[in-house]
Symmetry: C2
Subunit: 197 residues, 2 copies
DNA sequence: CGCGTGATTGAAACCCTTCAAGTTTAGTGG
DNA sequence: CCACTAAACTTGAAGGGTTTCAATCACGCG
């Protein structure tokens, strides 16, 4: 359909280094990063595995999620073009992955080894890489507060505003899962909203 | 009551640097960090303020929380001895604080300016400071998943296991707020648990 | 001592889940 | 390219857990 959604994303943009840093980073990536394409539905990382890879999304859409003991999926985040997806925290502590990663669309990624990321970070100004991580903390912080203080309808409306492009690219049941409600509840809630508008 | 709960916490332990780094850090802290005591109930930081301070808790207990538009409090985290409490993320982006910080007990803290933290971080190995931040990401990640997938009772039991010392130091209504439920709901839930045991 | 805050308990309302059925959509093989 | 099938979405009824509101109890602090 709209095949040229956007130009392909690049890790170098993601890192936004100074120009001389870029040269160094480019060389590192050229000799170490592997570009791979996963077809829709492929599970890239399993919960419980030991993995030391991060995935930079050039094109497509990834998802991270857990399975609880009742076998229910809980979507943790979506990773569209330009996002770096990984289970950072488990990796930093040499623990098995807490999350599954799978491809919601056919997705092309740069697979980056954890050690390479370390070297890349070494080239970035420390404050920059810190700021990047802090952004994630901020996103998570707001999500916790949302889950505690907002109704499902409010959370859905917020999702629409925050990730308008993602809404049309993932099944509703995954959005429901991200919001922490059942698919049925989301469907009814959408019905309500449509009626009122 | 049990006044000698634990020895006083120190920022140097928190940073856990190598011994030669410690000397440098010690000097920095001596000339810049201010030790302050806030009495129970004092609001140390208001939401909306621009602040560039972090608080290292030597003794006592801090809390961070938001107020929603309906005037309800939502506890984001508790900060007992040895914890670094601040609205990191807002500060890194030069945005006004999202959180209030107040003292639940009489609390002694080292007030550390953001710029000093930057210098201290400069002395730490980058990976160490990264790891510290990643721990927080992990905690938040698990909390999001808990809020999405567990019942209030399960979340309460998990809180008891994870923060056994804090339970006895804060009013129940704050625990309820942390769990994302009303004080009444927590009270009933506790009644249930007591009956079953 | 009394007042105010926190905790408890109960009843009613509400939101969301669960289960079940029916409809639409999308993907697959012939 | 159509036909078939599976998956996704919708809708409804019943049930459960949580909120809300209100009243009562317990207690610590001034």
């Amino acid at each position: 359909m709209d095949e040229s959604r956007e130009r392909e994303a690049s890790v170098l943009d993601f890192l936004h280094l100074s120009s001389d840093e870029t040269d160094k980073a480019k060389k590192l990536l050229e000799k170490s990063a592997v570009t791979k394409t996963f077809s829709k539905g492929t599970i890239i990382q399993h919960k419980g595995e030991y993995s030391f890879k991060a995935y930079f999304v050039r094109k497509g859409l990834l998802r991270t999620y857990t399975l609880d003991e009742k076998g229910r999926e809980h979507v943790f985040m979506f990773g569209p073009e330009g996002w770096m997806v990984s289970d950072l925290e488990s990796q930093a502590n040499n623990e098995p992955a807490e999350l599954f990663i799978d491809a919601i669309e056919d997705t092309t990624v740069d697979v980056i080894d954890q050690r390479i990321m370390g070297e890349l970070r070494g080239d970035m100004r420390v404050e920059d890489s810190f700021r990047k991580l802090l952004k994630r903390v901020g996103v998570l912080q707001r999500r916790v507060i949302m889950l505690m203080s907002k109704t499902a309808t409010e959370r859905y409306e917020h999702f629409l505003e925050t990730y308008p492009d993602i809404v049309h690219r993932v099944p509703q049941k995954m959005i429901a899962s991200y919001l922490g409600i059942t698919p049925e509840a989301l469907s009814k809630l959408r019905g309500e909203l449509a009626r009122k508008k």
